[in-house]
Symmetry: C2
Subunit: 214 residues, 2 copies
């Protein structure tokens, strides 16, 4: 089947919004109470950031437990790494992901501003310029035959969708309306010309949207 590019566990509101327009160090999503969008994931046993042994093992857990399976690299936009804009002023702040980032693979951060690669625990961050196809090529090489996760944020997902490089998407739609912000879509139907779609309501309240290429 080759190496897929997969959007996984991507969270949006019922009106398609994934982040606020104004991001800061304190507000990585630029949203009030962003946990309204991702609480379903945090409640599962397999949530990658979980530190205790609890959590649910129902439907939602199948999505979080799939996070690392068969994934050899991640691509993320700069805003998923940090809130800085323009040239890097210092290299001491090493991203939002703590000393043990959950990725455990090479991660390619898309930015026009160069910065040396560095490693935190099992994750190595590379900072790369280039269009989506070029970055994907690098990530695929690093993934050594495994799939590549497209980690977001929303602007990055939209870029890769526009370039028609995304093979599968799992989008969790939360029952909260945000009104304004950065939008993944007006409606999931926008993708139906290129993708199959299954819509799966979860007992937790989110509705999983599963897309794969026609």
């Amino acid at each position: 089947m080759g190496q897929l590019l997969r959007v996984m566990n991507f969270n949006v509101s019922s009106d398609g919004i994934a982040a606020g327009a104004r991001q800061s160090l304190e507000r990585p999503f630029g949203l009030d109470r962003p946990e309204r969008l991702f609480a379903w994931a945090g409640a599962t046993a397999s949530w990658p950031m979980r530190t205790d042994s609890g959590g649910s093992r129902g439907l939602d857990d199948y999505f979080t437990r799939d996070f690392a399976r068969g994934i050899g690299a991640e691509i993320m936009g700069r805003n998923k790494f940090g809130p800085q804009r323009g040239p890097w002023r210092n290299h001491e702040w090493r991203g939002w992901w703590g000393e043990e980032p959950p990725f455990r693979t090479p991660v390619f951060v898309m930015t026009h501003h160069p910065r040396p690669s560095f490693t935190l625990a099992d994750t190595t961050f590379h900072f790369v310029a280039g269009d989506p196809a070029t970055v994907l090529e690098r990530a695929r090489e690093a993934a050594r035959g495994l799939d590549v996760r497209l980690g977001g944020g929303v602007t990055t997902v939209r870029q890769f969708l526009a370039a028609d490089l995304v093979d599968t998407l799992h989008v969790a739609v939360s029952p909260v309306r945000l009104g304004s912000g950065l939008r993944l879509w007006e409606s999931p139907e926008e993708l139906l010309d290129r993708y199959h779609l299954e819509v799966v309501p979860s007992p937790s309240g989110v509705t999983h949207h599963l897309f794969w290429r026609r």
Copy 2:
């Protein structure tokens, strides 16, 4: 969390039947058209027996792709290995699973009749006597920290449920009524004193039942 014992992708009819009473070499399930119970799995991209690159990547695929993730051993009843009863008459017939069995771990076949272990591709079959707890102990050791899959058949699943050794179950209920045969349950509600349950209808027509310990 320790090592879980997991029933995965286990198929029953709407009236809880998983197999017919009379199994033979030609009819491993002892049922007419057993594919009515497992066609949903065969349609997915991640079905372990798939040999082409097609298949769906919707909800059902999350269940088949989970088959091997984090699993270090399987336990199966003798009837899942073959239709023979009593002492093994010869060792030449090596099970229903072909030259490349999909398990790719040690497999513990429960039988009172001894037979030497053998390896086919990445799978080694061991033939073990003993009660469920004893067999589980051996499988856990072989799994080296990973989970153990309880592969069935239905009599074996019932034995382990009776011994309260099962941690999670995924049962796919097909919309076909069989009337008679070997039964997993009269109703899934029988397990609610010990397990949480989520019931997830799939677009394919099966209804996934997900149980995990209270």
